[in-house]
């Protein structure tokens, strides 16, 4: 038998030689849809729950991390890059003392230590320091930043200056409150 044969194409009610009450037919259809939906509900629900599990995970950051000795920062105001070493949790793994990011440290004119997150606020690229032009340059979309992190070129794609981080000097050691911020926004919003 072939599905395109006339018999298969005729009215479903005609073949059986009886006329089923429409109400019964409706209930049958409704029950089919209901049972089908009920059967798929639990697997789909569990799948969505696991799929959306990442929404429960929040970045924990903002606590002070020891970065370097004060002596390691050049006296002439040139920034130097330092790795941020902290404990990191990656799903099931826990890594003690592992690099989690980087900062630029420099001395300001009044000899204060300043810290900038290396991540470009535009799209999250890793900003380079250009010794030649004495500025920060993002290699991705050419955002340019001055040494204090402010936007140097008004046409710069970055919506805000580089992200400054809180710094504390304790016993000659520099501690930085390391944090990442959301890219692409004018405001500095913790990520």
């Amino acid at each position: 038998m072939h599905a395109h044969e006339p018999k298969a194409m005729t009215d479903p009610h005609a073949g059986c030689g009886c006329h089923r009450p429409e109400r019964r037919e409706f209930f049958k259809k409704a029950a089919t849809v209901f049972f089908g939906a009920a059967a798929i509900l639990a697997p789909v629900g569990a799948a969505i729950s696991v799929l959306l599990d990442p929404l429960r995970r929040n970045a924990k950051s903002g606590s002070f991390v020891r970065v370097a000795s004060v002596n390691a920062v050049p006296n002439d105001g040139v920034p130097r890059k330092f790795a941020i070493v902290a404990d990191r949790t990656d799903a099931w793994n826990k890594y003690p003392n592992t690099p989690v990011g980087a900062v630029y440290l420099r001395r300001s004119k009044d000899n204060q230590i300043e810290a900038l997150n290396v991540v470009c606020p535009h799209a999250g690229g890793f900003v380079d320091y250009s010794a030649q032009s004495k500025c920060f340059l993002c290699p991705l979309h050419n955002s340019e930043f001055a040494l204090d992190g402010s936007i140097r070129d008004p046409k710069s794609p970055s919506p805000r200056p580089m992200d400054t981080l809180k710094v504390e000097v304790r016993d000659g050691q520099i501690w930085v409150a390391f944090q990442n911020f959301r890219a692409g926004t004018r405001e500095k919003i913790p990520a």
Binding site: A31, A39, I40, W92, Y95
Partner: protein, 616 residues
């Protein structure tokens, strides 16, 4: 329902259709371009000669379970990490840390088992109803290929959690592949991605499980259903009722069946808290309870009847002949006798498989080694759950490291292996097994505690099997001291002895006695004094002094980790038994054990291991 009740697809797309009038013109627009009305009409209004019947549900339930496997499998895929250091760990994370993860994994696990049952039922229905006969031979063969593919999915999926059970069971399966003549060894290497199990075994099995085999299944299922629709259903005669259509008559029965299946699966998931996850794969630890999934048990049992060198018959030749007969059934079934043969063969096969499965299960239920392996695996898995959720978490080297470095997990096994030939632990070998031989050295349960020392200094116990009874010190100075002098102690001396016990036991700094030690500092101080001045201990033992001419072991730091490690490492040292040492080997100096293993033993004897309550 947007389904047009008009069964004629040609008319439904006309401009005068109700959907155009009611603002659903875009449906017509879409239909003119992709023709979904005709497609859905063909899908839904298939004629069912003789009306809907429960015996026709199997195909739909299989499609349903396959779709569930795709949905749950895709999300599991997003959280699974195939490598020998991350496979078990990622499954553990799905199971214990992701919201609803255990339910998702449980559904995937039990639906896989349901699919196998449904496949067998489908095959039975097809053969019994003669639905394999011309012109449906090729579709029947597609079904057989799908059966094999689903079994392959099950086999590959079993390894992915990389637990002891899956690891050892799959090893057996891939070793069987190696006995294939000529190509066997090469085939095995290709399957497992090298000479031995590792990262590439997982990446290959995963690619097969989540990519290649499912893709083949999707293609074959589509073709299988298309061919089924082309030839129509094979009605069970005589027809009992008037004809009906697939939608809603047959589909109602199908959805009821699907709902019943998923309900049963959910019960299994909830009762068993999802699918089991045993301890991680460990090539250095045997697992006697390694068994394939229950529906492969008949093959597993079958292999037991083939003596060495003839496995190829049980593993490859006979199963191949059975598959060949199944394959040829459409040809054999052309005559009435042939069809009867097919039915007989099918039932003989099912009965044989059932009997073999029963024998395999019964044998395992009565074997103490299997029961012990299962319970020890459950304990390890539970322990690992606690360790993995500890503040240190799972190290990058994998969860197996946690288990290998855990005194509670390793201590009993090490004690049974290296110490229990002489010592006992609470009367057993450390793992709970009571040994037939009597102990010839002390029972070390509670070593370092006040209780243990109190027993040692009890005149009625010191020369018993629990302490020095089986050793060369049975009639030594210590035993004589306890049985003669201690027996005759005055009440004041007895109090002094209690203080000494507190003082010496405090040296051990046992975790279990921490509070007791902290609350009795005065008593401990008095005990130190009594040890040195009073009741005669210092005649033989050193205790925080620099004399070296004493004959008994130095009790400074007695029972501490350092003391115990030193004792196990070299009991012949001047600080311990020196030349009086009985039979105890110098485990470090004779290179029997490495320092880490000795540390594990010492920690275990001292009851020093991670407890989840500490983290709170």
């Amino acid at each position: 329902m947007t389904q047009n009740p008009d069964p004629s697809p040609k008319n439904s797309a006309s401009a005068n259709s109700p959907s155009a009038a009611s603002g659903f013109g875009w449906i017509d627009w879409l239909d003119r371009r992709i023709g979904f009305r005709q497609l859905s009409h063909e899908a839904l209004y298939e004629n069912i000669p003789g009306g809907a019947r429960w015996r026709y549900i199997w195909g739909s339930t299989l499609t349903f379970t396959f779709i569930i496997q795709i949905i749950t499998g895709c999300v599991l895929w997003m959280a699974y990490s195939p490598s020998s250091q991350t496979a078990w760990e990622s499954v553990f994370y799905i199971q214990n840390n992701m919201m609803g993860g255990w339910i998702l994994r449980g559904i995937h696990h039990y639906v896989a088992q349901a699919m196998t049952i449904l496949l067998v039922l489908h095959l039975m229905q097809v053969i019994m109803d003669g639905a394999y006969k011309a012109p449906r031979e090729i579709n029947y063969w597609f079904g057989l290929v799908l059966l094999v593919l689903v079994l392959a999915l099950s086999l590959t999926g079993y390894l992915l959690p990389w637990d002891q059970k899956g690891y050892w069971a799959t090893k057996v399966a891939t070793n069987i592949a190696a006995i294939t003549p000529i190509i066997g060894p090469g085939l095995q290497k290709v399957i497992i991605g090298g000479a031995d199990y590792g990262h590439h075994t997982l990446t290959r099995f995963f690619a097969l499980h989540a990519g290649i085999i499912p893709a083949m299944c999707v293609l074959l299922i589509a073709w299988h259903v298309a061919l089924f629709r082309r030839h129509g259903i094979t009605p069970k005669r005589p027809l009992r009722k008037p004809d009906a259509t697939f939608w809603p008559d047959q589909l109602l029965m199908d959805t009821v069946a699907c709902l019943a299946i998923i309900a049963a699966i959910l019960v299994l998931v909830l009762v068993n808290h999802g699918a089991e996850l045993g301890p991680p794969a460990d090539p250095s630890e045997n697992f006697s309870a390694a068994r394939p999934e229950w529906y492969f048990l008949f093959l597993f049992q079958f292999l037991k009847y083939f003596p060495g060198g003839t496995e190829i018959f049980g593993a490859i030749l006979i199963p191949s002949v059975i598959m060949l007969v199944l394959w040829l059934m459409p040809m054999i079934g052309r005559s009435v006798t042939g069809h009867r043969f097919n039915l007989g063969f099918l039932f003989a096969l099912l009965i044989g498989a059932t009997v073999l499965t029963y024998l395999a299960v019964r044998e395992d239920q009565n074997r103490p080694d299997i029961i012990a392996a299962k319970s020890s695996a459950r304990e390890s898995a539970e322990r690992l759950k606690a360790l993995a959720n500890s503040p240190e978490g799972i190290p990058p080297t994998g969860a197996i490291t946690l288990l290998r470095n855990d005194p509670l997990s390793q201590g009993p096994k090490l004690f049974a292996k290296y110490c229990a030939s002489c010592h006992r632990y609470d009367g057993h070998d450390g793992t709970g097994v009571k040994l037939k031989d009597t102990a010839t050295a002390s029972d070390l349960k509670g070593f370092g505690s006040r209780e243990w020392l109190t027993g040692l200094l009890d005149p009625n116990q010191v020369s018993g099997a629990h302490y020095f009874g089986g050793t060369r010190f049975k009639n030594g100075r210590m035993v004589k001291f306890v049985t003669r002098k201690v027996r005759a102690f005055t009440p004041e001396q007895k109090t002094e002895l209690t203080n000494v016990i507190a003082a010496v036991s405090a040296e051990a700094a046992l975790k279990l006695q921490k509070q007791l030690d902290a609350s009795s500092t005065a008593q401990i101080e008095q005990g130190v004094h009594s040890f040195k001045q009073g009741i005669g201990c210092a005649e033989c033992h050193q205790f925080h002094s620099k004399e070296t001419d004493t004959s008994g072991p130095d009790l400074t730091g007695w029972g501490s980790r350092e003391w115990l490690v030193g004792m196990i490492s070299n009991p012949k040292s001047i600080h311990y038994y020196a030349e009086d040492n009985d039979r105890m080997p110098s485990f470090a100096d004779e290179k029997i054990l490495d320092p880490q293993t000795i540390g594990l033993l010492a920690d275990w004897l001292r009851g020093d291991w991670y407890e989840p309550a500490e983290a709170r």
